[in-house]
């Protein structure tokens, strides 16, 4: 099957005083209906990648290379990076939606859940009457296992797990074919997390959307994903099925990450070792020496 999303050689720089390459030559395909996991630490570029796909990047971030091709339902392809204005508005949420990190803060605290869901329909389904919008919103809440009478609740009246479900309901609203989830369960405790994951899996089977699941919790990703990519300082250093990554990881950094979380019931000896990214270190060293060369020239 053809991929619905093809990222090719994508490079994103933050054009600050000393530019930072947040995403470095990343290529990744996502096929219909699959869960692709993306693991990496704070600052490795995984969220930047997500924001690039949804075109939510803001200055000083700049896409400096590569392309992202989206296969439309009619079989043609759209280059996401060239979308603009009304075309971009129509594309977002309709084709790719996103569940943001920290459901605690992603909902507006002064509006009822119902009106926040209805906003989507006001923007994207202008033809619907107020009553139809309300019915759809109620239906959506029920899809994620929340009683429809919660439409009148404010976010603070819901638990963290329920708020996260509301976020998922909103992402599902227009039946997109890809949902990007950026650390969707990080703030939740294990039981609620497991519950949400099962829910995501059930909805995926029901609606057939693909998921790009981003988290630093590699253990979790290995359990739920069809394929997992490992990011390190902007580069996608390895990508494979969970079985292969667990049994036979190719990259040192993957091995390091695998060692860094203990198995719950296995007897894994623990050694907290530190991983040094040789490639980034040498890049840094050469940049630093170039800079000091420049300084020397300037002083001469």
């Amino acid at each position: 099957m053809d991929p619905i999303l093809s990222i090719t050689d994508l490079t994103v720089d933050y054009q600050t005083a000393s530019p930072v390459r947040a995403v470095n030559n990343v290529s990744l395909d996502i096929h219909p209906g699959e869960i692709v996991g993306l693991a990496g630490e704070s600052g490795c570029g995984k969220s930047t990648l997500a924001y690039t796909i949804t075109r939510l990047l803001q200055a000083p971030a700049e896409i400096t290379g590569g392309s992202i091709a989206w296969r439309r339902e009619d079989g043609g392809t759209t280059d996401i990076l060239t979308l603009d204005g009304p075309a971009l508005r129509a594309f977002r949420w309709q084709e790719i939606s996103m569940v943001f990190q920290g459901a605690m803060n992603a909902l507006n605290p002064v509006h009822r859940i119902g009106s926040q869901i209805e906003d989507i329909f006001i923007d994207h389904r202008a033809g619907l009457t107020r009553r139809e919008r309300r019915e759809r919103a109620a239906e959506l809440l029920q899809t994620v296992g929340i009683p429809a009478d919660r439409l009148r609740s404010y976010p603070h009246e819901l638990s963290g797990g329920m708020r996260q479900r509301v976020m998922i309901a909103m992402a599902l609203a227009l039946r997109p074919r890809l949902i990007i989830m950026d650390e969707p369960t990080t703030a939740l405790d294990v039981v609620v997390q497991r519950n949400i994951l099962e829910e995501i899996n059930r909805l995926r089977t029901e609606f057939g959307f693909a998921v790009l699941f981003i988290t630093h919790d590699l253990g979790l990703l290995l359990e739920i994903s069809d394929r997992v990519g490992i990011m390190l300082s902007g580069r996608l250093v390895e990508e494979n099925t969970p079985d292969v990554l667990l049994e036979n990881p190719a990259h040192d950094y993957t091995r390091h990450l695998l060692r860094s979380f203990p198995s719950l019931r296995g007897d894994v000896p623990l050694t907290g070792t530190r991983y040094v990214d040789a490639e980034a270190a040498s890049a840094f060293a050469s940049a630093a020496s170039a800079a000091s060369d420049r300084e020397e020239e300037a002083t001469v």
């Binding site: 963290g160 329920m162 294990v190 919790d217 860094s260 991983y275």
Partner: protein, 317 residues
């Protein structure tokens, strides 16, 4: 060295209801915990189970509604002086290293303050020497550079090391670590936990490790205490509790925790029924439970074993 004993701890919070009717939230309901020198006890449970309330009572930030806290059998006085004396022996490391250090003060100040307050050092020379020792004990250096820095110049892991150094400054005998690594990247968590483990050994510290991560609880503690809705539902040797959990809630926790490195845990309600003498409290759903039982029941309801477990656990609604 010192054993911290908390017996029959209770904490009630009043919730203002409608009209004249106030209700009481039993955040902690008859919990006893003993932490011995050189030993680490893990306290695990879901959000809202009362773990952090216990930590706050043990560090005397929150006054218990009932129960006794003793150090080596001695009761703790209420006054300012005895609180200070208590805190020179019991210290805490907080969850969030990004907010637990004062952003406007250099590291030197944050570490020197407890040294001065608790009378560990009196002169500048002593202070310098002790600061170096502290930084050295948490593997941070070079000392001069570190002491001059502000918190924002440090990474999360470095900040948590400073927070640990600060807790060690009064030379405590008991350390309470409330989710000390949950805000840190996965790959540096082990380093910090290992540091705590080494310090425990070197200084014969009694450590209470509060977490929701069962795997690290198992590997870094000898005892695990499982809480739910303010009560202890199961406790025992850490491997025993994880490998052979008995209470339905512990079984669900083990089942829910991600563990790609071993086969899925199989829930078995019979284990619970067959062990009537295990420490298990009557399962009072508690005030916060209005949504909880059904909440976590739903996803697994396709599993007959889980369904039957839940039937034994959830009171008829």
């Amino acid at each position: 060295m010192t054993t911290l004993e908390a017996l029959h701890l209770r904490k009630n919070y009043d919730i203002r209801g409608t009209g004249l009717r106030n209700t009481v939230l039993k955040a902690v309901d008859d919990v006893s915990i003993v932490v011995r020198p050189g030993e680490s006890v893990a306290l695990v449970g879901e959000s809202g189970s009362g773990k952090s309330t216990i930590a706050k009572m043990l560090i005397r930030l929150v006054e218990p509604t009932g129960g006794d806290i003793t150090l080596d059998g001695e009761a703790i006085g209420r006054g300012r002086r005895s609180t200070k004396q208590y805190r020179s022996r019991v210290q805490m490391v907080f969850q969030d290293p990004f907010s637990s250090l004062n952003p406007s003060l250099p590291i030197r100040h944050q570490l020197a303050r407890p040294l001065r307050i608790h009378g560990i050092v009196r002169t500048r020379a002593e202070e310098d020497r002790e600061l170096r020792r502290l930084l050295d004990s948490v593997n941070l250096g070079p000392a001069d550079e570190m002491l001059a820095k502000y918190p924002h110049e440090l990474s999360g892991g470095q900040r948590q090391r400073i927070a640990i150094a600060r807790a060690l400054a009064p030379q405590p005998e008991v350390l309470i670590a409330d989710e000390p690594v949950s805000m840190l990247d996965v790959s540096i968590r082990l380093e910090i936990l290992q540091l705590l483990d080494d310090l425990k050994r070197e200084r014969n510290l009694a450590v209470l490790y509060i977490t929701h991560d069962l795997a690290t609880a198992r590997h870094f503690s000898s005892q695990i205490v499982v809480m739910r809705h303010g009560r202890v539902v199961e406790r025992g040797g850490s491997s025993e509790v994880i490998l052979n959990p008995i209470h339905p809630y512990t079984q669900l926790l083990v089942r829910a925790a991600p563990d790609p490195k071993s086969e899925p845990f199989v829930v078995d309600p019979e284990r619970y029924r067959a062990s009537p003498d295990v420490l298990i409290t009557a399962d009072d759903p508690g005030p916060a439970a209005a949504e909880s039982p059904t909440h976590w029941a739903r996803a697994w309801s396709d599993d007959p074993a889980v369904a039957s477990l839940l039937a034994s656990l959830t009171p008829a609604l």
